[in-house]
């Protein structure tokens, strides 16, 4: 199937999700308000810390705010596009995943993007406005570097979701796995450099959280070396390749037990 058809499928599924959200407007309003409140409350905490702390591991509180906003940006992007993973377990348990496999569409595409979370768009817009307001003037080369690392971050976020989907096929455990990733990624609300070396290593090379959240913020602040950009490229390619292999292996073991 061509890319154009995948695009049309995504648009159709997105429109259906949007209609569903519009049918329960009060619920949507409460969800959006909660998400926005979460962002404001954390910024309030940072402002409170600003009166007590001048620098944290060499970062000013204004720089920490940029790290938090970049974390929020990618956290929201992951949820906007890949919310489908939260519904996927019930398909595995009920055997409905068989229908996913028999359709002339990539099962991964169906699992990951069958539910676009439009409710994350308002907080995303707010985050981008905050970012533009708080960022010092950025050169074109820095902006291009940020766009490139954002692209790699999105590939890594996709890879993490594929990994969770593969674990789901093997163990039927999905929700907790994705929540563990999200719990861990909360540590990237601050730059990973502030943590002890062991934690830094874990958040960089065991689970690529630093590559997704910290490095794009660092390049915006002009704090990322060329060597680390190269490592990011290599890690992204290697991680994505390994995860695809893992997904293919998981699919081979799928026994369609409950259908």
């Amino acid at each position: 199937m061509s890319l154009k058809k995948y695009w049309r499928c995504w648009l159709t599924m997105g429109a259906m999700t949007f209609s569903s959200l519009m049918s329960t407007r009060l619920a949507s309003l409460l969800f959006i308000s909660g998400k926005i409140a979460r962002i404001f409350l954390f910024i309030l905490l940072l402002l409170a810390l600003k009166t007590k702390i001048t620098l944290l591991s060499g970062y000013t509180l204004d720089q920490l705010l940029i790290f938090y906003l970049i974390y929020t940006l990618f956290d929201l992007l992951g949820q906007i596009f890949f919310r489908g993973i939260y519904w996927y377990r019930s398909d595995l348990l009920s055997g409905n995943f068989d229908f996913t496999l028999t359709k002339p569409l990539s099962p991964l595409f169906q699992v990951l993007v069958n539910h676009t979370d439009w409710l994350d768009i308002p907080p995303l817009i707010l985050t981008v406005i905050f970012l533009i307001y708080k960022l010092p003037s950025v050169s074109v080369s820095t902006l291009l570097g940020f766009i490139f690392l954002s692209f790699l971050a999105m590939i890594l976020i996709t890879a993490v979701h594929i990994f969770v989907a593969a674990i789901g096929v093997l163990t039927l455990e999905v929700d907790h796995t994705i929540w563990i990733f999200r719990d861990l990624s909360q540590m990237a609300r601050f730059p990973v450099d502030i943590y002890t070396q062991g934690v830094q290593f874990f958040l960089t090379y065991i689970i690529p959280i630093a590559f997704i959240f910290t490095f794009p913020a660092k390049i915006l602040l002009g704090l990322l070396s060329g060597r680390l950009i190269l490592i990011t490229v290599l890690v992204t390619v290697a991680f994505y390749w390994l995860v695809i292999k893992f997904w293919q292996y998981a699919l081979k073991t799928y026994a369609s037990a409950s259908s």
Partner: protein, 243 residues
């Protein structure tokens, strides 16, 4: 897996404050030792007070399963209170050994209350805090009578976004400027975790403890009557949808 998440949520907070205290000896009125003691006690209370199975009540109202209870000669409220405590105790049976292990691994300094009186006082406040949260949670669940969509989850989600912050689960509320801290003192959420933890650490004067207790009891009464009124009104419009 759930327990992994419980441990992770503690570690996320701990590692942040550890990073702060490697550079600073004091944040506000908190030394490294008192901050870590705060985090430990707050983690314990989070797993006692905020650990509540009663949120399923909103699902039962939304999908009509409430019928099963209304027909039986038992109090729905009392039934959930008993199940809630059973669930809390079960959770603590897992969490306390995990927390002990983390204390040993990370050599987190321990602080104990200075007298048996403070221990007893802390236990009473933890129980009252749990009851307050139970009533608060039940009130949120009652929203399902009027809005059963998404199993009553939207209002609960909205409330949860504020809870970690306003209860003092991740940081002590008095790190904020004085006017904000004073405002927090009058909110019911401060009495879930922050207030009992401050009493445990002996950071409150007698008059502050007394005024805190009065505000806590005030909120308990308010929520008790609110739950009664809302429950009564809710049952009048209950349509047993899904049945």
């Amino acid at each position: 897996m759930w327990q992994v998440r419980t441990v992770l949520s503690f570690l996320t907070i701990y590692f942040f404050w550890f990073a702060v205290f490697t550079q600073y000896n004091q944040i506000g009125t908190y030394t490294r030792t008192t901050m870590f003691a705060y985090l430990l006690v707050a983690a314990f209370l989070r797993n006692l007070v905020l650990w509540s199975d009663s949120y399923h009540a909103c699902v039962e109202i939304a999908n009509g399963d409430l019928n099963n209870y209304l027909l039986k000669p038992l109090s729905y409220f009392g039934n959930w209170l008993a199940r809630d405590w059973a669930d809390k105790i079960l959770n603590l049976l897992f969490f306390v050994p995990e927390l002990a292990l983390l204390i040993i691994i990370f050599r987190i300094p321990l602080v104990f209350p200075t007298s048996l009186w403070v221990w007893a006082w802390f236990i009473v406040l933890a129980i009252l805090g749990s009851l307050l949260y139970f009533l608060f949670s039940f009130l949120v669940s009652s929203f399902s009578f009027w809005y059963p969509e998404h199993d009553g989850w939207p209002l609960r989600f909205f409330m949860l976004m504020f809870l970690d912050f306003l209860s003092g689960a991740a940081f002590p509320l008095d790190i904020f400027p004085q006017p904000v801290t004073t405002l927090f003192k009058f909110l019911p959420t401060s009495y879930f975790i922050y207030f009992p933890t401050q009493v445990y650490l002996g950071r409150l004067s007698f008059s502050d403890q007394l005024s805190g207790l009065v505000i806590m009891l005030f909120w308990l009464l308010v929520f008790f009557y609110l739950v009664k009124i809302v429950w009564h009104k809710g049952l009048q419009i209950y349509g047993a949808y899904g049945r």
